[in-house]
């Protein structure tokens, strides 16, 4: 049984912050494919198109029939632990700092036998549930969990190295004015966050839920307007060194395509919030998070962006908003590059139309604030870097993966034709 994690001790201010070190990294295209699926929380291995052998580790050709058509496929997550050991030494600095470390050999139900990281509650010979996640270097790794939930399972030290669990961490939610922001605060509180900083812009304008937000325990409301550089810089001066998770829920959404605008003002407001707002947050909080990526059990660990799935391909009904979301999505990729090696994950939650005033005339299904909040916390708890939320976003993401050029036609021509 995993021992319940205790609130991490406060850091000794006389000691230097621990700098991040990294587990090993592979750069082949096949290894990166495994990693990119793992980043979505998917357990995918290559399956031979000719002989259907499930291949592990990733290869260029099938080891059995030499066919080169290896297809990345979601596979069954069951397995059995057939051998285990505890590493007590390593030439890798990352693991040296974390000894002892438990690894084992799992016979996967899908066929291959693989060496993987082990949860502390997995016993020799037991059935396991295999997950694929990205580690601190961004590489996809296999991890064996107990088949059934065990007490304090998420507190396992080796598992926590792959996740961004908000438990005992301090999070900043950038927009407390919105239903999404408020639902996220509630979800973080329920997930055991130590403290939740909530940014509220323009406190001279009242907003729904203000009193409930202010009354919540562990919540500290602070002025933050992502369109105002000074405001962002003042906030980082106050809480930058204490923010372990940043969740950017601020968004500016308006229906309309280019020709439905008589000027660039609305589009500029969208860019100011969705793109430049994100950039201001990155410039202020990015260095602070990056520097604390290995700062103990409650280190800085995640940056969460709430993005429209139409960042991937423009939906003219919300055409200029889509364009600003595309800019923000691109910047999130830039941020992944800047965070590489820091141990801080960039998590993108992609949503379809949300349940709010700007999407009010649209038909269901729409994503609720509570649904988004749950997804944010789930992605943190599971260490998943990209999550499509709701039927619309899942569908758009799947079609984008299949063929972005066809999706573009579906969104710009079929959808436009239907509305004509």
């Amino acid at each position: 049984m995993t021992e319940a994690m205790a609130q991490p001790a406060k850091r000794n201010p006389q000691k230097r912050a621990v700098l991040p070190t990294l587990p090993p990294f592979s750069r082949s295209r096949q290894a990166l494919t495994f990693s990119s699926r793992a980043a979505e929380g998917r357990l995918c291995l290559q399956v031979c198109g000719s002989c259907e052998t499930v291949v592990y580790p990733a290869r260029e050709i099938c080891p059995k029939c030499w066919c080169s058509a290896l297809i990345w496929t979601d596979i069954a997550d069951g397995g059995r632990l057939i051998a285990e050991t505890v590493l007590r030494t390593s030439i890798n600095t990352y693991f040296r700092e974390r000894m002892p470390w438990r690894v084992g050999t799992v016979e996967m139900d899908a066929g291959p036998t693989a060496l993987m990281h082990l949860h502390g509650d997995v016993e020799h010979g037991a059935q396991v549930k295999i997950i694929a996640r990205t580690d601190k270097s961004g590489q996809g790794v296999l991890f064996a969990l107990p088949k059934m939930e065990t007490p304090n399972m998420a507190d396992d030290r080796q598992l926590r190295a792959l996740t961004c669990d908000p438990k005992f961490r301090r999070a900043l939610v950038t927009d407390g004015r919105s239903a999404i922001g408020q639902a996220t605060v509630r979800a973080l509180s329920a997930a055991g966050a130590t403290q939740i900083f909530v940014g509220v812009a323009e406190q001279w304008r009242p907003f729904e839920g203000a009193a409930e937000l202010a009354a919540m325990p562990k919540v500290e409301i602070l002025p933050l307007d992502v369109t105002d550089t000074d405001s962002v810089n003042e906030l980082v001066g106050e809480i930058g060194g204490r923010t372990d998770i940043l969740i950017n829920t601020t968004e500016h959404v308006r229906p309309g395509a280019s020709m439905e605008r008589n000027n660039v003002l609305i589009a500029r407001e969208e860019m100011e919030t969705n793109y430049f707002g994100l950039m201001r947050l990155i410039q202020a909080f990015g260095p602070a998070l990056r520097a604390r990526g290995a700062d103990g059990d409650n280190s800085a660990c995640a940056w969460v962006n709430l993005l429209s799935v139409y960042a991937l391909s423009n939906w003219p009904t919300f055409g200029t908003t889509s364009a600003s979301q595309a800019a923000a999505f691109s910047l999130s990729q830039c941020l992944r590059g800047e965070f590489a090696g820091s141990g801080v994950k960039v998590i993108n939650i992609l949503t379809g139309p949300t349940e709010d005033a700007w999407h009010q005339p649209l038909p269901a299904p729409k994503v609720t604030a509570e649904g988004i909040a749950k997804a944010i916390v789930r992605s943190l708890q599971q260490g998943i870097e990209t999550m499509a939320l709701g039927a619309v976003a899942e569908d758009v993401l799947a079609r984008w993966r299949e063929d972005p050029t066809v999706l573009e036609r579906e969104l710009t021509q079929v959808a436009a034709g239907a509305s004509r």
Binding site: W204, R205, D225
Partner: protein
């Protein structure tokens, strides 16, 4: 005579016989601006971005870009701001005759009434009562409505509720009275607009905007320190930025008052 008057003015300014009062709020990113229903275009907030500050972007100098709307912060309203004033010649901030920017000013103190009633409306009767004490408002004067609203901050300033903003302003009849009976050149307030918070429910809606600008008169809003002005006898200095075809402009508003007693 004129030369003597100017020399006298300069002397009085330097020796303190004339005191200069600042009626302007600081341009601050977090200062409230008027908020329209969300489907309308919105007034830009005041924003600043640093170009350099004695650093790698410019080692020896500090300078910034700022952006805002024509109606952000303490600002001037030109007649073309409103549809009723759109056809006047010389009615934009760059073409208004400059003599309008330096004028005598009457200050009507409504602060007690506004403290009791946040939707207080200035009426012709109230103005006439004021005149019984301070004399008839001379033609060509600015008239400022003192509400002490500038002492409010945060959410208290716009005072927004579910049915809109609640703040004082002039009634339609008061505006007509000031134009037709007193021929004032402009009207100023401490609130976010020259009209009351609930002025969309008046007839005509937004009477200060509709009628003053419809009569080619000017507006000032988000003024401060009106409690430092005498009811009469001060001179207002309020030149807006010379923005081509501008509907208004943020500006520094000053008043010259008798300082010989202080």
């Amino acid at each position: 005579m004129t030369a003597n008057a100017l020399a006298g003015l300069a002397d009085a300014l330097s020796n303190g016989d004339i005191r200069v009062v600042d009626l302007t709020h600081t341009l601050d990113p977090d200062f409230p601006v008027i908020v329209l229903p969300a489907e309308f275009g919105q007034c830009a907030r005041f924003r600043v971005e640093e170009i350099s500050r004695y650093d790698d972007r410019g080692p020896g100098w500090y300078w910034r870009n700022f952006s805002c709307g024509e109606h952000t912060g303490t600002h001037f309203d030109a007649p073309i701001h409103w549809i009723s004033g759109k056809d006047y010649p010389n009615a934009a901030v760059d073409s208004i005759p400059t003599s309008a920017f330096v004028r005598s000013v009457c200050v009507i103190n409504c602060s007690k009434e506004c403290a009791e009633d946040e939707d207080f409306l200035l009426t012709p009767e109230f103005i006439q009562q004021w005149e019984q004490q301070h004399g008839v408002i001379p033609a060509g004067n600015w008239v400022l409505m003192r509400s002490d609203w500038s002492k409010r901050s945060g959410a208290e300033y716009l005072n927004m509720r579910d049915d809109g903003a609640h703040s004082p302003g002039p009634s339609g009849d008061a505006v007509k009275f000031l134009i037709e009976e007193r021929d004032v050149i402009g009207f100023g307030t401490e609130t976010v607009g020259t009209d009351a918070g609930q002025a969309h429910l008046l007839s005509p809606p937004y009477p200060a905007h509709y009628l003053f600008h419809g009569a080619n008169r000017y507006g000032l809003q988000c003024l401060a320190n009106l409690d430092q002005l005498p009811p009469t006898g001060a001179v207002l200095v309020c030149p807006p930025l010379k923005i081509k075809n501008g509907s208004g402009s943020p500006l520094r508003v000053l008043a010259m008052i008798d300082g010989s007693g202080s």
